[in-house]
Amino acid sequence: MNWRGMQTLFRKELLRFYKVGLQTLAAPVMTTLLYLLVFAQALQERVQVFTGVDYASFLLAGLIMMSITQNAFANSSSSLIQSKITGNIVFILLTPLSHFEFFLAFVAAAVVRGLAVGLGVYLAAVLLVPLPIHNPGWLVLFAVLNSAALGTVGVIAGIWAEKFDQLAGFQNFIIIPLSFLSGVFYSIHALPDFWQRASHLNPFFYMIDGFRYGFFGASDIDPLISLAVVVSVFATLVTLTLLMLRSGYKLRN
């Protein structure tokens, strides 16, 4: 392993988003707080969630996970597409970094950004909305797994996309719809039967439901099922990404 090389790429990716922290950290925290204020006010009395759980608390837990996953995705995908379009990806491709080291560095940086934004939302919002923590280990496990999974999706999208337009399409037509339809704003038990079944096909649903369990000790489905689904999805994504990187798909041709 080229540990120092991988650590350098990881640090470079951290520096990249840290240097534009207003855009990469502060702005998503602000946007998420606005979602919380607007939706909590509008839906507080209308949406039934878990017994004994306030809607604003329920929503906040979902929004934290949504901000974690969206920012993890944004970090790896935007870094790769920018590097490809400006051409400076060659600085990485010319080096003795393996495809596995490349992957680990990008995903680790995506996890850090996702967790930083999620923590920022939590710290800012708990001043307004009570949010108990039932199982901190479970929370950290889901936060890390989910951000790593979306960081991996970001690597796939960043390698696949050849222009910003394609990446925006990936984000707006796949990532955001799946996030919004995952139960961030509602419990799937409030949905008609068909949409409840459809929600079970959405991996984001398991990410958010499992994460919520860490806060409330309650969830729409058994949290172990959520964990199994998230681990399986992550393992599939990692396999696909490593195969893409090893083949040099859209990077070394």
Binding site: N2, W3, R4, G5, Q7, T8, L9, R11, K12, L15, R16, K19, V20, S83, T86, G87, N88, V90, F91, I92, L93, L94, T95, P96, L97, S98, G248, R252, N253
Partner: protein
């Protein structure tokens, strides 16, 4: 050959590469020896950059093998990439970082830490970037960015340095300073591979040259050897208008490439044609010679002739 191991600096064997229906490289084989200053010439689309990219590991060959100092560029990519520094053709940079940060990051990818800082400082001074080390890359001029690219290629002290059209679009002063720096690298023992469109640049710098056209090596020789390849020289004769040249016959008449007024241009083969015999033939036609000059073929003539022959 490499002084220690006698291993070629770069060994390219039967490399093929296609991009869709375009045959970018069609069985290219080349050996570049350690310590050489090697030129890779060819018209646009000849396959030069594709070949450089395969050597650097940026593109994978469809067939064939490439090794840098004996390390296969795919199977032993870690070792081969440590041995080679590539200056890309495009003026690329990372806008998030200063010059020093960019160089430290590049060194870090090769496993080098702060212990490499003195070398980074030395590079910055040698490339006249010492006062720009803490300047963001975005704020540099094009010439400075080009020099940072060279520093990035050298940051891990590679034995083989590949420069892909390093002087394309740079002003005369910068071109001269880059030439001087590259000559210094060569004197210090680096193997240099240069692709360029400026033939006088290759003629002035390179020991040996390969000319690529349509993905094939159409010439591979020392620079001097290429210049002597039967392209010959032009003999320009001016005669008095009172007695123009009209009676040249046979093999002498076939040498005329241009005749205008009292001026006659004759193409002579370097090895077989005598200037004295040619002048005697002109005099025997009754013409009085009042001036003459000879023009040696340069690499551009060789290049044009070879690529023209290939087309024909």
């Amino acid at each position: 050959m490499h002084p220690l191991t006698m291993t070629p600096a770069i060994n390219i064997q039967s490399v093929h590469k296609r991009f869709g229906s375009v045959n970018a490289l069609n069985g290219v084989s080349l050996t570049i020896n350690g310590g050489e200053f090697f030129g890779l010439l060819g018209p646009n689309g000849a396959g030069k950059s594709t070949l450089i990219n395969i050597i650097a590991g940026l593109t994978r060959a469809d067939e064939g093998d490439v090794a840098v100092l004996g390390h296969h560029v795919v199977r032993n990519y870690r070792q081969s990439r440590r041995c080679i520094g590539v200056v890309p053709q495009e003026l690329v940079y990372d806008p998030f970082f200063t010059v020093r940060e960019a160089l430290r990051i590049q060194a870090g990818y090769f496993g080098l830490g702060r212990g490499n800082d003195p070398w980074i400082d030395e590079l910055l001074d040698a490339l006249m970037l010492g006062d720009k080390r803490d300047t963001n890359m975005r704020a540099l001029s094009g010439g400075m960015k080009r020099r940072v690219l060279i520093a990035q290629a050298l940051v891990h002290k590679p034995e083989v340095v590949v420069l892909d059209e390093p002087t394309a679009g740079v002003d005369v002063e910068l071109r001269q300073s880059l030439w001087a720096f590259v000559k210094r690298l060569h004197r210090d023992g680096h193997t240099i591979v240069l692709t360029t469109h400026y033939l006088e640049e290759a003629e002035a710098l390179c020991d040996r040259i390969a000319i690529l056209n349509h993905g094939e090596v159409i010439a591979l020789d020392t620079t001097q050897g290429l210049l002597e390849r039967g392209i010959g020289r032009t003999l320009r004769v001016c005669v008095t208008t009172a007695a123009p040249v009209t009676g040249l016959t046979g093999k002498y008449a076939a040498k005329i490439v241009r005749q205008a007024g009292n001026r006659l241009d004759l193409q002579l083969e370097r090895r077989s044609d005598s200037v004295v015999d040619m002048l005697d033939a002109v005099r025997q036609c009754g013409a009085t010679i009042i001036d003459l000059s000879t023009e040696e073929a340069d690499l551009e003539d060789v290049f044009v002739e070879l690529t023209r022959r290939k087309k024909a």
